[in-house]
């Protein structure tokens, strides 16, 4: 009796389901026709800024 069921190839390579799913979604979005492609890519854009904290105070954040 196999204790590990056949794992999907991406799981065996160390990738999680979420990463796999997001890669698939990005690939599909990149194959869309023009107005839909720009809409889809704009919709999925994420804005975030990172700031390192030292001595309880944030330094100047880097905007992304």
């Amino acid at each position: 009796m196999a204790s590990n069921a056949a794992v999907p190839f991406w799981r065996a390579a160390g990738m999680t389901y979420i990463t796999y799913s997001n890669i698939c979604a990005n690939l599909v979005r990149n194959c869309l026709k023009e107005p839909y492609k720009t809409e889809a890519l704009a919709r999925e854009k994420v804005h975030f800024s990172i700031s390192k904290w030292t001595d309880g105070k944030p330094e100047k954040p880097n905007d992304v």
Partner: protein, 200 residues
């Protein structure tokens, strides 16, 4: 608050089963009676607070005879494509192959691979290409399909698909680490699924 135990009563008794499955739970959740009484004793003039469960619609019970239509909820992270739409059949691209779901289908959870979801209603068929996701089919002939990205087939650009397929085939042959190979393999799978969706 209505109290409906019809889900429990409709369940047939099988000899081997000791505990109820989660699909056989009663359809409606009831408000907590002890809490309500305690509230009314202390604060009789105010309405008791509503819990999140009271805002939700109770799950429709499993009917005793197979219903004629399947109710489909097809949702994406940014939109709900189909919301409680009554259809005759849906074909979902499960990892185990194309799975046709008819009303009265056994309760199933299926992981989806990149492929085509087709919704059959009367004579019309609507097809979407799904990037990946899950399909939950409940015993009461409700199907929830969730996907990260789903597009109608006519929004796919064939030339981009061919280019992507060629690019990832080339990446697979030049990949070194396991992770790169996996990514290239994913690219090939997705693009060949897109290809067969366009041609098939």
């Amino acid at each position: 608050m209505l109290r409906r135990a019809s889900g429990l009563l409709a369940r047939p008794i099988l000899a081997a089963r000791a505990r109820p499955f989660s699909t056989d739970l009663p359809a409606a959740q009831t408000a907590d009676a002890t809490f309500l009484e305690a509230w009314k004793k202390v604060i009789p003039n105010m309405d008791p607070p509503k819990t999140p469960l009271s805002f939700m619609q109770p799950r429709p019970p499993t009917p005793s005879s197979i219903p004629s239509k399947l109710t489909v909820n097809f949702v994406l992270p940014y939109a709900s494509e189909l919301a409680t739409k009554e259809v005759d059949m849906v074909i979902v691209p499960a990892t185990t192959g194309q799975m046709g779901v008819l009303p009265g289908h056994v309760a199933t959870i299926a992981e989806l691979k990149p492929g085509v979801l087709s919704v059959h209603e009367g004579n019309e068929v609507t097809k979407y290409f799904i990037s990946s996701g899950f399909a939950f089919i409940h015993a009461n002939s409700f199907a929830d399909v969730i996907a990260v990205e789903a597009v109608p087939l006519d929004r796919i650009d064939a030339s981009l698909v061919q280019k992507g397929l060629a690019e990832f085939t080339q990446k697979l042959s030049s990949a070194t680490t396991d992770l790169e190979k996996a990514e290239a393999q994913i690219g090939i799978d997705v693009h060949s699924a897109l290809n067969s969706a366009l041609t098939g």
